[in-house]
């Protein structure tokens, strides 16, 4: 199993308040899996369990077939790209230096780092000559999100986690970035787990969709099967998307 697998995973805060309850899911090597749910449903916790920012209280999480408990956390995190909700670009580093963080941690030679930065800037549609030496606070929200994606992809990790990557953007930029994501994913073909509260985004981008409700995975399957669900909570989420489509 090359992707990410959750087997009966539970997670509680301080071992008491349950955040995730018996979640099982499988995301294949080149698959994009979207986790949908209201805020507080436990979506971000799922991501943090993948790169071992958290460890499960019960069940196990396997990345590339290995239990996260057995992974060296540093190695694991360097092979899992993470686009976090607030982007979290380092304000004291230029765009190029932000993208280059993990390759440099991995000890790549500078020439290879520079080539990789330019390649990624091309991939996310920012002209390298213009943007390489910009500072994060000189970028628009959409540009910052793209740099966040480029930074997560920099060392070519097999797994990519994206936490509301298009959340804080205006609808037009959002639509544009979603299209770009599809194009990028077609080229890089990673195991992607995408967290969103927006069902239409999930249906548009993912090969598989899971619906989280207060810590339980209440539905999962391919996007075209979700309309057939008779769970009221799933139906409620699907119906919000109808006017938008």
């Amino acid at each position: 199993m090359d992707g990410v697998e959750f087997r009966h995973v539970s997670y509680r805060i301080d071992g008491r308040t349950p955040i995730l309850d018996d979640v099982s899911l499988t995301v294949g090597r080149r698959e994009t899996f979207a986790l949908v749910g209201a805020s507080g449903a436990g979506k971000t916790t799922v991501l943090k369990l993948v790169n071992r920012l958290l460890l499960p209280d019960a069940g196990d999480v396997r990345v590339q077939g290995i239990d996260t408990r057995e992974w060296d956390p540093i190695r694991l995190r360097r092979s899992v790209g993470y686009v976090i909700q607030d982007v979290g670009l380092f304000p004291h580093l230029s765009v190029a230096d932000n993208i280059a963080v993990v390759p440099r941690l991995e000890g790549w030679p500078e020439a290879r780092v520079a080539a990789r930065v330019d390649e990624l800037l091309d991939l996310i549609g920012l002209a390298p000559d213009t943007y390489r030496s910009r500072w994060p606070d000189e970028l628009s929200g959409g540009q910052r999100q793209r740099v966040g994606v480029a930074r997560a992809l920099a060392a070519d990790p097999p797994v990519l986690l994206m936490d509301e990557p298009f959340g804080a953007l205006d609808p037009i930029t959002r639509r544009q970035l979603q299209q770009e994501f599809r194009r990028i994913q077609a080229r890089v073909a990673k195991c992607v787990i995408l967290v969103t509260h927006d069902m239409s985004e999930a249906l548009a981008l993912a090969d598989g969709v899971g619906v989280l409700d207060t810590g339980r995975l209440i539905w999962s399957g391919p996007p075209d099967a979700i309309a057939a669900s008779d769970d009221v909570r799933v139906r409620a989420l699907v119906e919000t998307t109808l006017p938008a489509r």
């Binding site: 790169n51 920012l53 956390p73 540093i74 190695r75 694991l76 995190r77 360097r78 899992v80 993470y82 976090i84 909700q85 607030d86 982007v87 979290g88 670009l89 380092f90 304000p91 004291h92 580093l93 230029s94 963080v101 993990v102 941690l105 500072w135 606070d137 930074r151």
Partner: protein
Amino acid sequence: MNALVRFWAANRQELATLVAEHILLVAMSTTIAVAIGVPLAIFATRRPRLASPLVGIANVVQTVPSLAMFGFLLPVPLIGGVGARAALAVLTLYGLLPIVRSTIVGITGIDPSIRLAGVAMGMTPRQLLRQIELPLALPSIVAGIRVAAVVGVGSATIAAAIGAGGLGQYIYRGLSMVDSTVILAGAIPAALLAVIVDGGLLWLERRLSARRRARSRRAGMMAAAALAAIAVAGSVLWASRDTGAIVVGSKNFTEQLILGEILALTIERETGLPVQRRLNLGGTLICDRALLTGDIDVYVEYTGTALTAIFRQPAATDPAAVTDVVRRLYADTGRTLLPPLGFDNTFAILVRGADARALSLRTIDDVARVAPEWRAGFGYEFLERPDGYPGLARTYGLMFRSPPQVMDLTLSYRALASGQVDLIAGDATAGLIKGLDLFQLEDNRRYFPPYEAVPVARAETLLRYPQVRRALEGLAGRITADDMREMNYAADALRQNPADIARAFVERGR
């Protein structure tokens, strides 16, 4: 103003040395405070439960008055005592709080999503610290360094009290000579220095928080390099400074400065040994402690002071008996009392010459009659010591209109002359007695013990350098009360340099 410029011009070499010493003291203590404080603060951010007690302790340290801090540290081995090392220790302690606090604030104030991004990218704690936390906290850390350095410039003036040099030396000398020109000669450059340090570090701080970080990082590196260079240069200079074989100390008033110079010049001339001067130390007990610990080798003490203030014996009035007791007590603690210099600097109860003539006052008994209408002003030491005011009041039945005012001994002469108080306790050899037309009342009940001026030296030093003993014995009986009053007058009233006065005296005696 003109007098000030003339003073600086005449002493420009000394001024340059003092400014350099001052800058070195502040730069070195600040560098050490950074070297200790930043790691300490980083540690505290890793153990949040330690952070607030740590800041609490640093806060308490900050509130201890600096002079008291020097006092606390006197008996502490390694960092205590007198001289540059102790001053560095005190200034470093003061610098710690702002640096620790600003580093903690700088690190804990970083946006959590930025730290999360670093951790999620697989940074080790060390990489996170060096690549993310420290660079982002740097402007805040520099702000703390700025506060530490500015406070340091101020506190460093007090370092002169323990013989660590710096601009405070002028301030203390000016205070002991009651010469505002000399005080300003030290105070103005110190204030300017504070303004410059503040401005320079503020510039650096702004630079670091500005958007162009690549260039500012270079600025930060340059500043760090400059600090390091100063620290290295400082330690080299300091190491080379402390080469005097014999260290002569003195207390912080004119007569002591002159006597210290006379001892130093005599040893230099008679033995050819290098002599280091640690004059102007902040009081009897500091000198005594310095002599015990070996920070100084010799200074001039007064027999009555040694008996009551140092050895806490009841006051006695027979000069020969006092000298014998004191010699024995010193010998018990590894110190040698050398032959007396020849004059007795007892306490002098002083009134204005005009009052003495108008009311025909001659003795302290005479003044007891009018005292209930009068105000008295005494130095702190005189008010406290057993052979000072309490016994005097009892012996003569003295009562004043209000409790005696505490004032600086050297300022009290002026306070008397200008009518702020009507009676003071001064030194019998004070030059200002002549300069300000003051009158010394006779101690007709023989209350005050004898205060013969005697050099006290470490026995160890005298054994090692017998020629020093011979040189100091050569001074026996050579300085009369008149000589001393004249020399004090030259310094206090004629504003001559104590070193020049001492030189003239030593040369005349040859």
